[in-house]
Symmetry: C2
Subunit: 436 residues, 2 copies
């Protein structure tokens, strides 16, 4: 049978990884796929750059639209990143009747609904396994492996840089700023860390995961996002004393009123598997009503892990070439006419447990005041601890762990606690999840 | 579109789970699959038994061949277990041109090559996600998600009963026999524990995993199998002191000479995720050359988790109805004409690290004798520890951890150590793996 002709947009790290992988494992891949898959046309911004891969036999251009318009190409692999140009190229490829494989989480999270509409009109596939958690086949697991389940929640460590920083803070007792600087030096973190440590990147991924889990349109602008910049070594240590670890999680949970979508630092019981995912690794837990809790773990980034997901998508697309669109796996797991309309909850209506730390003057009555306020707000306390003051300090740290409450209740309580004369400086609060 | 008509063989726990799941989540499932899936004919040994599911609207029979021969049925779900009758029914269903979904690991591990030959001749699918690790989509992950990778090894906790027993021994300091008796009382373990604790069940599953990972025919009779009956509380504690946990693993690893296939108790470094999979849960780690290490975790048994895998297979089969067989996912991940012929290594040629415990008389020179023998056999020692004798005991436990060696080297060393006058009773040895 003829080989499948692929056009590649972007010859950077991941693009090079895809070419290398198709070449190195070409024999195993075609023994599985039944066809050879071949990159025949590729676009790179600078044609004279040194490459991580051989481009022998590949037609090269600096104009990606040339690849997208090449009539010989059956599948476009979009790896240029960014949003606007990637969107233009993807839509043009789809309108040209080509299938698209993309690793672009921002594109799918922000423009996926439009992209899928074009794909549907053209009767072609858009595959995006590489957009979430690198090479871990998490999109496949949720869309296909859990197809019989009503998904209750999912929660994931889906940014390796943030997890690397939190792991170093935990194991080495280092401060956030110091580890971030090192991660930048090592190339784990971008010079502009906004995407990673402030949560934009995991919010993109969570948007995608939530849509395929619950069958809702992509709604990136409704994700509540908090970064890890305010996690201190102190809180990492207090959490540890209480039997918890702090992880940067993306969480999507359905209750009777709607779906909560949020990315924030979270305390997890230290015996849970997800709490023990260290360094740059990613992991996603998914709870289905029939299956129960499952976890998927692996490298969330890097040239070869990402290429692994791209190649898996390519093989899936090739297998589905001759399938009528209505028998293909739907883009968002549910057929487009059968997507749901569960509302995304405002953050006030999301319920979680809390870790609260305040600095209080070392005088009688503070604990009584705090517990009275918390009780007045309808919040049950699981534990309250007053630490010894640091040598020479006038204030003592007081730490509370609460049961699950609505966010608005906690806001109310915090406002009143903050107003107490005996409470100094700002309250620190983190959400706590028990994922079982 | 018409609903898909399914025939069910076996109305026990899992069969009831499948009917309940298709009914409870029928709406979500057809919004994903695009078709309704309906059990219309079912066979049970005793028609008058109380059921965990409603059988309203389902034609019932005590003769499973009636279901297999029903011309209205498009897919047979085989859940009767056992081997001989399941084989007859499965082959007849395939020869009748029906697709088959099965949870029967013994059938696939022992007769899979024959079953797939019949399916190929008839141009139909055999799906068996439920046969390994319950509802965890591990077959899908390896066959499809990792399709671009050359798999280097996989290792899994694939029997929940054995893992429950080892977890209790670790956390509660209990003895094997005592926990086994409790597991039998709780219904986690069969009255005849052979399958679970002696390793037959995980060997079936490992056979299947190895074939889809490496693209080799099923070769159940070549798996080296050891149970967990000889794991003592003492060794669990010594392992813990050394920073390890003992798990019952199925391991398939490729080296330059062939593939090692083995099920045995194994020491794992306690910081590794797989070492922290507790209770009845299952988990499989898979190392691909591009992707690196990944892990898949979840419930490995039970009515609903198994039903979750059966329903996922049903939807996959339905989607592939109109696909030419050569574009379907191959039974063993690789197309049948492209399966490999890597030999299965004799156990002597498998290499692992070792934990060795011996009881020696408390006299000078024993350590020197032991280390000399081990060195003579070409084995490097990572650690050697001589414990204090128990109060009143005349012998002291000596524990060695070695680097990786071939099994025959270790056999040689053990024989010579065992022959020392100063060594009393039998050596205890366990293999050690560092899965990274």
């Amino acid at each position: 049978m003829n080989s499948v002709k692929v056009g590649l947009l972007g010859l950077g790290t991941v693009g090079g990884g895809v070419i290398n992988l198709l070449s190195r494992n070409g024999d195993e891949i075609s023994r599985r796929a039944g066809r050879e898959i071949e990159v025949v046309h590729a676009a790179a911004r600078h044609l004279d750059r040194p490459r991580t891969c051989s481009t022998e036999g590949i037609k090269l251009t600096s104009d990606p639209f040339e690849v997208v318009d090449d009539p010989e190409i059956e599948i476009i692999v979009e790896l240029i990143g960014g949003v606007d140009k990637a969107r233009d190229l993807t839509l043009r490829a789809l309108d040209n009747g080509k299938h698209v494989v993309t690793a672009n989480k921002a594109l799918i999270a922000q423009h996926g609904n439009e992209v899928f509409a074009h794909a549907r009109d053209a009767g072609v596939t858009v595959a995006f396994e590489a957009a979430v958690a690198g090479g871990i086949p998490i999109i496949k697991a949720i869309r296909e492996g859990l197809v019989g389940n009503r998904i209750e929640w999912l929660a994931g460590i889906i940014n390796g840089t943030a997890n690397f920083i939190l792991s170093e803070m935990y194991y080495e007792g280092r401060e956030f700023a110091e580890v971030l600087a090192e991660a930048q030096r090592l190339g784990y973190a971008e010079a502009d860390p906004t995407f990673d440590v402030e949560g934009v990147d995991p919010a993109h991924k969570l948007t995608i995961l939530a849509s395929i889990a619950f069958g809702i349109p992509l709604q990136y602008d409704k994700v509540h996002v908090e970064g890890i910049g305010h996690v201190s070594r102190e809180d990492v240590e207090y959490a540890q004393e209480l039997g918890y670890r702090i992880k940067h999680l993306g969480i999507a949970r359905r209750n009777e009123n709607g779906i909560g979508l949020r990315v924030h630092p979270t305390l997890l019981p230290e015996r849970q598997l997800l709490a023990n995912v260290d360094g740059v690794m990613n992991a996603v837990m998914v709870k289905g009503d029939a299956l129960g809790p499952t976890l998927y773990y692996g490298p969330g980034a890097g040239a070869e892990p990402t290429a692994s997901a791209v190649v898996a998508d390519l093989v899936d697309v090739v297998r589905e070439f001759s399938l009528e669109p209505e028998n293909r796996v739907p883009y968002l797991a549910f057929h487009s006419h059968a997507l749901g309309d569960d509302p995304i909850l405002p953050m006030d209506e999301v319920d979680t447990a809390y870790y609260l730390r305040l600095m209080a003057s070392d005088q009688p009555g503070v604990l009584a005041d705090v517990t009275r306020i918390v009780g007045d707000c309808g919040i049950s306390i699981e534990a309250i601890i007053q630490k010894q003051p640091a040598p020479g300090a006038e204030e003592v740290p007081v730490i509370l762990l609460t049961h699950r409450v609505k966010e608005w209740q906690m806001n109310q309580a915090c406002e009143r606690i903050q107003a107490l004369d005996s409470v100094k400086g700002h309250l620190t609060r983190f959400r706590v999840e028990n994922l079982e």
